[in-house]
Amino acid sequence: MIDFDAVTVTYPGADRPAIRDVSLHIPEGELCLVVGGTGVGKSTLLGAMNGLVPHFTGGVLAGRVTVAGLDTRTHRPREFAGVVGVVLQDPVSGFVTDTVEEELAYGMEQLAVPAAVMRKRVEETLDLLGLAHLRRRPVRSLSGGQQQRVAIGSVLTSHPRVLVLDEPTSALDPAAAEDVLAALTRLVHDLGVTVVLAEHRLERVIEYADMVVSVDASGTIVAGRPADVMNISDVAPPVVRLGQVAGWDPLPLSVRDARRRSGELRTTLEHRAALPPSPPVAVEPALRAKRVVVRYGDVVAVAGVDLDVNSRQVLALMGRNGSGKSSLLWALQGSGPRQGGSVALEPDGLDPARAQGGEARNRIGLVPQSPGDLLYLSTVAAECELSDKESGQSAGTCRSILDRIVPGIRDDVHPRDLSEGQRLALALAVQLCPRPDVIMLDEPTRGLDETAKHRFASVIRELAGERRAIVVATHDVEFVAGVADRVVVLADGEIVADGPTADVVVASPVFAPQVAKVMSPARWLTVDQITNALATEEVR
């Protein structure tokens, strides 16, 4: 269905090709997963499949790409509209019209599909993706998962034979992600659509994949069956790494596979304490919030939340999209609205919302969901310099913090040219510069690849080690399992669970990490814990 023949793509001004000498054949009806770190050319690979690369992006494409017999050299993206459906990373920015129904019809209107056929296809697609009850809603008022499904639907109505998706689940909470993936597998199984998707959250998608294409930093690819590619890939979901640690062959790809093979492992570790007893840390509250209420008009976002945030602890704030996580963070920081309750920073009980000038920021920092919003100067050096000035620190403070988080970012780079991970690091450094006791991060792992996430997790642990209190609002259960001491789950603006990570997540069907699901009912959370346990076992 999709054929790449010795394809090399070089963008103008780049010193090396984005993808190099790629030869690839994706058969019809496969679900193909593209993996690799950020900035390695995954998007280039996807974009080449309907001619957006190089027709829209510029650059030089050597070799030949054919999709369903059409050559991208002679056909422009718009001519692929009936063959290849493309869903971009942020579905909202690709919406042309206003309501769900019109968005679904837009592509067909361009292809001059007759009105009667259009009507029928729209109804079919609404049912296929479970959107019928949303048909007249404005697309902007939908939740992230619904928007993603509308975006998929809007290209499906043109009956494409190939569907290309760039990180369809990375911004979604686990339940919404499952909705989207269920819709995709249904397309592959029932309609024989060939689906190509790029995704960082391997743990979510790998079990559905028929083939995996791994792109490495030099732009070359390895393609094959998922288990084979995972064996040699440097990014792998926890079940796969668990399989590697335990020496299972073939590697398990789903929790179910792993659970079936884990009998022996579970017996070996049965007598071990579920979690190695962590050394007791003297935690002391850094922030006390009582009955915090945030409302937008009639909508109550946070409904009277009591929360103590402790220093030396990493607190993970979880809950579905729209459960009030961001509103709570902004209210605690004092910059966002708060209609009721009190927030007091220890030891003097200062309310950050009442603090004068930059005082709040010296005590409590927040890195917003899109960290780029904090940055607006044209070079990294200028941002660091301004940050030192803003927070009254000696010159070079911000830069040294940045170097500790991610070393080796050049001074003269524009912040927009940084990778997601580097940009997050810079925003974090800027917010850490005034040395606040409490630092809060809203969805920091969105867009981070496995390696960057690992690196980021250890930075978070280090910060907590320095007597700081850390609050992370996130959907990423694997990240939480690795980094958080305590988990608070919000639903409809109320706290529904609060306790040590293992207590909260192990029993939860949505928030349990893969290792916990495999090892249940024992309370293991991460592959690292199991690796350590096995190592000490052997020593004994």
Binding site: V84, A112, A115, R136
Partner: protein, 371 residues
């Protein structure tokens, strides 16, 4: 009469009705007639508007109308209130240098001057209400959708603008909030650098993504017009639109020569239609659930046109009633023909099909919960 199913009227029909009402209103300064027309418009709106977000703005137009009247009166009182003999009170007068001779600030205020200002203000406000009603009764996006194929590009550009504008506001809000996190001070340079530039960068990024999305969804796929057709289309459409503008002006302003009114409007319309036909003949695109133009649309349009026509008749039958004299002062009265015009104008409140409030209000509820 068979049962009428609830449906949305073609947005064009509402606009034509509103234009007719506006034409009628512009033909008089009789405050009684004007108030009757305002009531008629309000009546139709409250009977036939849906509950969608764009349909809730009538109150805003009403307030805007009151502001217009107030501004008109205040300026008249301050600047030029000497018209007439019934002096109500005298304001302290500011003496201006000779260069500004002819302009007076302050001085005596007459009842006649005040009333003239009120009449004018009410007429403007009622005109505004007519256009407000069109906006409230017809979804502006659906109106854009009904644009003929040759004007499709303009329609798309406006749709995108309608979508992007709230996004710009939103990203401005987001970025300003983030700036506060950095302890931003409120200096103007800081605002421009710290908010404007990121917002513009954001907008640029978004538009590139949108362009890529539209391209890969087949936008412009059949734009196989030759350069010559494009030029001819553009010329014809522009000339036609100019004709329509001049014609409309002629219709609205009773003092222009007759030739600039109806005939010009008709000629403009014809040229524009020819242009649109030429341009649209080669465009291959289809339209999802196009709004039908049925009997109800004809009726609503006819009501608007009828009201305007009745006012034209009135201006030749009884011009004194339409422009009540201020010297000597007389109570304005509601003439027979203007009353008939208002009655014709109010008919759509019953003759237009009912709107589907059940569905619409459930949308509105969900929208209200969404942010």
């Amino acid at each position: 009469m068979s049962q009428r199913l609830p449906r949305q009227l073609h947005p064009g029909a509402w606009w034509l009705w509103a234009l007719g009402m506006a034409t009628a209103v512009s033909r008089t300064t009789n405050i009684i007639t004007l108030l009757v027309f305002a009531a008629v418009v309000w009546c139709v709106v409250s009977f036939r508007r849906s509950d969608a977000p764009w349909a809730r703005g009538f109150g805003t137009y009403l307030r805007l109308g009151l502001i217009i009247i107030a501004v008109r009166v205040v300026f008249r009182v301050l600047l030029d209130a000497q018209y007439g003999t019934t002096i109500l009170f005298t304001l302290p007068e500011a003496h201006l240098p000779d260069a500004a001779a002819g302009v007076r600030i302050g001085g005596p205020v007459s009842l006649e001057g005040l009333l003239a200002a009120v009449y004018d203000g009410v007429r403007l406000a009622t005109l505004l209400l007519c256009f407000g009603a069109a906006n409230v009764l017809a979804d502006p996006r659906r109106l854009l959708k009904t644009l003929p194929a040759a004007l499709h590009e303009i329609g798309v550009a406006m749709t995108v603008a309608l979508t992007v504008a709230p996004q710009l506001v939103e990203s401005g809000h987001r970025i300003r909030r983030a700036r506060k996190l950095r302890g931003a001070n409120g200096s103007r340079g800081g605002v421009i650098r710290g908010v404007m530039i990121p917002v513009l960068e954001d907008a640029l990024d978004r538009s590139l993504v949108l362009a890529a999305a539209m391209d890969s969804r087949g936008y412009g796929r059949h734009a196989d017009q030759t350069r010559r057709t494009r030029v001819i289309t553009a010329t014809l459409v522009l000339a036609g639109v100019a004709g329509v503008f001049i014609g409309t002006y002629g219709m609205l302003d009773g003092t222009t020569p007759r030739l600039l009114g109806g005939p010009m409007l008709a000629a403009g319309c014809m040229v524009a239609v020819i242009g649109v036909r030429v341009g649209g003949s080669r465009v291959r695109r289809s339209s999802y659930r196009p709004d039908p133009w049925e009997l109800a649309e004809w009726v609503v349009m006819a009501c608007g046109v009828g009201a305007a026509a009745a006012m034209f008749v009135a201006s030749s039958v009884d011009p004194d009633n339409l422009y009540p004299t201020l010297q000597p002062l007389r109570w304005p009265t509601l003439g027979l023909v203007p009353a008939v015009a208002a009655l014709i104008g109010v008919l759509p409140a019953w003759l237009a099909p009912p709107v589907d409030l059940g569905e619409a209000s459930s949308i509105a509820r969900e929208v209200a919960v969404a942010p």
